[in-house]
Symmetry: C2
Subunit: 376 residues, 2 copies
């Protein structure tokens, strides 16, 4: 909670749950990344929070942008980023979307298989491509599936294919898993990357870049290492695996850039028990899985929640959203301790909500509007 | 697939995934419910698909409407339903939303605890309330959590509280779980309902109505019993537990009303393998969990998928959506058999998609627009 958010909420007059993002925090996060990894270009992961205010601020600070779709690329351009500061980082692209991005001037594309290389070669000839490799994601709170990336053993032939088709085989990318709390998690993937560099060099292909991805955590309930610790550990691994030939590097923070900058204000709609003997209260908020808190799926992200009654005795409760969907329960497997005195109508503040909330909102599920947001 | 949908898709010129709903199928479904349960009023669960075309059709056929929010109630009114044909069926309501619904003329509210009764008594004085009870949901493909409803042991005191506060204690509701394939699933809840009727009568409170909820399935991959079989089984249970004093009944079909009326047309964006030795292909579509197929969560709903290559040899694959979210995988635990010849750019048809798709779409996740829909 920052003073600016507190002041904003004090003066707020409209109704319903809302996200408030303090842009000063985003600025500080950007500067911390730039300071911790001074030789690394920052490609902000637009999907984490594509608010124009966030994009404009980051563009003015010199950030580059990792985009998942043509719409996101257009947003980054509208915010003032030039096309050479934008990557099309989704490995799953329609060929006509690649052509649209190419027409916008974008020349940097992610791939993870030969079929995707062929699309880029046809629709964005001569562009740079980096090959995403699989990475096990151990230590991440929101570990990634095998959806993106190929086995490192395949990456060399994918990059060779790109080279053969007139693209610039530019480098390798990976993602160590979102909300990664192990600062050493990059080491193994960097070892694989160095091996791919070596094998490509043997084939006469000089790779230039390692995309270190995202994974930098936001603070939720547990303490997290400082950005500096990640920077130091990554530099160590780069030196270990690449020796004196340290490649160009980029990072793609999303959650780490905006997560801690935002706070959701919500309201307690109901507190009840299911029977006289029920041990746990049910607390229902006016925001749930379909209104912006989708990352509570499988109770993966556990947000810190504050109330005006903090300090009173707490007791565990089951926390749920307001929709008629029975899956719209936030925390049940691990109940959430909240003040016993919590009452219907109380406001609650959900911290660390600056990333992956507004855009995850359902468009109109149960007639509820998407999450409102203010970027101040 | 109906002829009308086939014809519409043949002439379709716009791009991207879309849902097409055949209103003739919705009409037939409504008539089947009305025929199978002739003495039961149908309250369509608006949340399943709130398209104005669906609501107007059902209003013209005489349907009533189960709404989850004031916005849904307003949509039902706009479609031509009078307020006495609308229930506010969400047990989790802000008091000011109850007041808004009351101002719209709505006089029927769901409750499951005394605190909610008190809100209704203050904001909608004199209205009818029904108490939702818990029900185990065995046999349902999308079983409900304990989120809604109280233990039957508590229902009598909840209804007594309503009576004491000047509300009309109108009846009992329950929900046997969505996509319920056991036609006998209503029996136990009807036994509990009859017991609540009896205990309320002993206290001088005459209940009138049993809300049988939804749960009527749509056809996905497996065959389902006909609506008539549900009607017959429910009538049997009503006679068993209520004898000659059969109460007024209502049903709240959502999926059963619109699920089989809609089909999503999507496109294959990428087909790839993660390594030379990978046994399973990954097939990526331009629609996923965040674009309308949220009910694939935990692989709960398994949609029938057709391609232009049906009849070719099939092989299992992992099916995933187009976003940069690693959770956006549709079927992986139980891979999905699709033609080996399936290629990038192929269209796929996802059946049984008329319910719980459009409104589940994320508002702009990864920059992708919400699911388009056409109701023909």
């Amino acid at each position: 909670m920052t003073d600016r958010i507190r002041e904003f909420l004090r003066n707020r007059r409209d109704d319903g749950p809302c996200l408030v993002v303090d842009l000063d925090v985003v600025r500080n996060n950007y500067l911390a990344f730039a300071h911790a990894l001074p030789d690394t270009r920052v490609f902000y992961a637009v999907k984490a929070n594509p608010a124009p205010e966030v994009l404009s601020l980051l563009a003015s600070l010199g950030s580059c942008f990792d985009t998942a779709s043509v719409a996101e690329a257009e947003m980054a351009l509208a915010a003032g980023a030039s096309p050479d500061r934008i990557s099309f980082g989704n490995t799953i692209k329609k060929e006509r979307d690649i052509a649209r991005a190419f027409a916008l001037g974008i020349r940097l594309y992610a791939v993870d298989c030969e079929a995707e290389v062929e699309k880029v070669a046809r629709a964005a000839p001569g562009s740079r491509v980096f090959c995403r490799i699989l990475c096990d994601g151990a230590g991440a709170e929101w570990p990634l599936s095998r959806k993106f990336g190929c086995d490192p053993s395949l990456a060399v032939s994918v990059l060779e294919h790109a080279h053969r088709l007139g693209l610039e085989a530019y480098g390798v990318s990976f993602h160590v898993g979102s909300q990664q709390r192990n600062t050493g998690a990059w080491d193994q993937a960097l070892a694989s990357s160095a091996e791919i560099f070596r094998q490509c060099a043997e084939r006469g292909i000089g790779l230039s870049m390692v995309n270190l991805g995202g994974g930098f955590p936001a603070k939720y309930l547990n303490d997290i290492p400082a950005v500096e610790a990640y920077g130091a550990s990554i530099l160590d691994s780069l030196r270990t695996h690449f020796g004196n030939a340290i490649p160009e590097t980029i990072i793609e923070p999303g959650r780490g850039m905006v997560g801690n900058a935002g706070m959701i204000e919500a309201e307690v709609v109901l507190v009840s028990r299911k029977s006289e003997a029920d041990e746990l209260r049910w607390v229902y908020l006016d925001i749930g899985k379909f209104g912006g808190l989708a990352e509570t799926m499988d109770e993966a992200i556990r947000y810190p929640i504050h109330t005006e009654r903090d300090g009173d005795t707490v007791e565990d409760c089951i926390l749920a959203g307001p929709t008629c969907d029975s899956a719209d329960v936030l925390y049940e497997k691990t109940p959430y301790p909240l003040p016993v005195s919590l009452a219907i109508g109380d406001k609650v503040l959900i911290e660390g909500a600056g990333a992956y909330t507004t855009t995850y909102s359902a468009v109109a599920f149960n007639g509820f509007p998407p999450l409102k947001s203010y970027h101040i």
